[in-house]
Symmetry: C2
Subunit: 449 residues, 2 copies
């Protein structure tokens, strides 16, 4: 394969701008990335890399920005089939009158497989290459992600009541360990424990999860301090706020992926920083469900690890991480009353390396660095919405849109090519989504439990 | 032209969903609109209209939503050439160290013409058909909107200090009246007075504007209560808060288009409702500049007229009214701590009929009703991001994107056809924007005044 002394590689991508995320805030003009065996083997000036490498495939985009794939650090992807199913409702009515009854009627392997495939299609079209999943049927999820060549950390669900997935605590744990075992060493799919939330998980189960997570070296993905009501009820029931209870149970560590965290006092922020807890900010879901405002800028200044997630499609209503970055960056300024809060480079970092770190994958993904997996995407800048461009990272965060995403690679495999999904039959997928829509629309709903 | 007894018309548009906005919250399945001489002459079931009308042009879109054109009720469109020029900075440094020095160096007829053309291109591609403009060189703006066939209310600027546009109070008024006179009776371009803000306009000038606005039947477009600092300084200087001062000067009426309004107590909200004041909410600009939170839901419940705007591109950084609706609907829930606040139909109403009403154009635009101007757009629903669809208006607001906009008409003239701009040379426009970018990037900046 070597020609004229050039080094062979599988893929070479050159772009007008390359934003590696690490080093922080850097923008490289007219650079390129060489990929071999799914990994980045070189990052350098375009002309130098074109001269040095003989690539099987070459993608040259002078009018595009190359970025590391986005990491959606909190999703319930099967719920993509419930996009917009019950909007503009008070939280309790939304959950008990709509979401739970629908899930009770439709949840099963077919629903989970179709929902995950629809989500993968949407995520890829938006530059997302990895997600952190929390839902039932992790076996079906894992098989779907693996089949579609999408990187995922699949949550092993635990909740203190029976569901279609498991009838008892023992069955939750048995099935969790089985799924974990089936995907040990898988190149794309990993697992994490996913206890639902402090108000739905007993001390006993949390302790068992902590012990198993340590033994198996797994992260623990949990909704924490999502609403004021949850915190107050937790305090009444357990004598302390949920974060303090989790700390007492040994769960506050860099294994914990704490999602939402809208209710935090200064001492709790300090504690999370000290323990190395990862906080996943879901600004659009928090707004839509009126859960409260996560104090992102205070967390950042305290040194807490930050990641970004969309949450499920029933409370967002999309899986658009570029839009989510923008909402995060804008909202942080309003909440902090400081126009300099959460600047564009930090918002992008949350959506890439911050997510990778939360998932324990920072050695593999989250930035464009030699040796890392080639999880990458191109954002076209050839439209009239992309001019002028004074600062590329600002442009991505404040004026970027997922419709500008043209090409996506996961571990060096092209999953989106010139805007078209590879290996996904979109017409068939849309037809299946419409079938679920009809089935869900026909269900009786509306009564509060 | 009449064939088989069919009635001739210029244009017939049929869509899978038609959202007329008036009646409120209604979604019509498989309906069509017939247009003649720029106006809507019929709205009815698709098959009935196809049978009744013989149209010169027919656009059939079963997988799209037809909506009234969006009304951007507060913009500074020439600033589109300053998109992202100075992000993530504290407000004072942003304004005095960047925005004002740049404007001082570049502002003139060429800058205004190019900025407005870039803005029109971006607005059309996002379904916006009308804007309410506030900037210098209204003569150049007006000529550009008229040339491009875009509907606009052009602000006649007034500020208490000399600018490139006018050197004295008298010159501001003389030029304002001249521009107003030149566009009297124009089918697309109207004028309004645009005093900058209470802190930059004297009592004398406000009184003159009020008198002239009454005589000429013009709206008054003004930034009001944008920040806490402005309100406090106004109170110190005039003894009362700016809104009270404006009321004393006779300006609080349904002529007033009050933009931002982030600082409002209950009495002020009641007063605005009583006086018929129009409030333009600019949520993304308010967040980005950390100006405060406009209490949209409280205003809505009090019966205050609401409209929506993007503000200029230097504080947004786009002119995307679909995104702005979404931000408005989400943020209102967070601010009101109520997931039922500002539901999707109300957010859409702000962005259409609410804007039309603020501009005094509610008899002409803002909804799909027989007799109104055919300002319309189609939002494609054929992507995987658009399934499932349980509720069309929710889908537009919470899962819609301007990239789905395929076709736009202003007064029945097609301005966007299958995603391509009519009458705008986008390559040339991009090149001119890049030239301004280079010129602006080379300017000395950064010192706070």
């Amino acid at each position: 394969m070597s020609t004229n002394g050039r080094v062979p590689c599988d893929l070479l991508i050159a772009a007008g701008w390359v934003v590696p995320v690490e080093p922080h805030g850097v923008v490289l003009r007219d650079h390129a990335v060489a990929v071999r065996d799914g990994r980045i083997v070189a990052l350098g000036e375009r002309e130098a890399l074109l001269a040095r490498y003989e690539a099987d495939a070459c993608v040259l985009r002078p009018e595009a920005i190359l970025l590391p794939g986005l990491v959606n650090a909190h999703t319930h992807n099967p719920m993509t089939l419930m996009r917009g199913v019950a909007d503009d409702l008070p939280l309790h009515e939304w959950l008990t009158g709509h979401i739970w009854p629908i899930e009770g009627a439709v949840m099963g392997p077919a629903f989970v497989a179709d929902g995950v495939e629809l989500a993968v299609a949407e995520m890829l079209r938006g530059g997302t290459t990895c997600c952190n999943e929390s839902y039932f049927y992790p076996d079906v999820q894992a098989a779907t992600y693996a089949r579609l060549g999408f990187r995922a950390v699949v949550g092993l669900p635990y909740i203190d009541f029976p569901t279609a997935w498991a009838r008892s605590a023992q069955e939750y744990f048995d099935k969790a360990l089985e799924v974990h075992d089936n995907y040990r060493g898988h190149p794309l799919v990993r697992t994490a424990f996913a206890p639902h939330a402090p108000y739905t998980v007993s001390d006993e189960a949390f302790e068992r999860i902590r012990m198993l997570a340590d033994q198996l070296d797994l992260q623990v993905h949990c909704h924490v301090h999502e609403t004021a009501r949850e915190v107050e009820e937790g305090r009444r029931q357990h004598g302390v706020r949920p974060l303090a209870r989790l700390d007492r149970l040994g769960l506050l560590s860099d294994r914990l992926i704490a999602v939402h965290m809208t209710q935090l006092n200064d001492a709790e922020i300090e504690l999370c920083a000290r323990r190395g807890v990862h906080v996943v900010h879901c600004p659009e879901s928090n707004l839509k469900l009126a859960s409260g405002f996560c104090p992102v800028e205070r967390l950042r200044r305290a040194g807490v690890h930050l990641a970004l997630g969309t949450d499920g499609c029933a409370s967002n209503n999309d899986l658009d991480m570029i839009g989510e970055m923008r909402t995060a960056a804008l909202l942080a300024k309003g909440v902090a009353a400081d126009a300099a809060a959460l600047d564009a480079p930090h918002a992008l970092r949350m959506a890439t390396l911050g997510g990778a770190r939360a998932l324990g994958l920072e050695a593999e993904i989250g930035s464009i660095e030699v040796g890392k997996q080639a999880d990458l995407f191109l954002l076209a800048q050839d439209g009239i919405e992309a001019v002028p461009c004074f600062e590329a990272i600002s442009q991505v965060v404040y004026a970027g849109a997922r419709s500008q995403v043209t090409d996506v690679w996961v571990a060096g495999r092209r999953r989106l090519a010139d805007g078209a999904l590879v290996d996904i039959d979109t017409a068939a997928l849309r037809a299946r989504a419409r079938e679920w829509q009809q089935r869900i629309a026909a269900l009786p709903r509306g009564g509060a439990a």
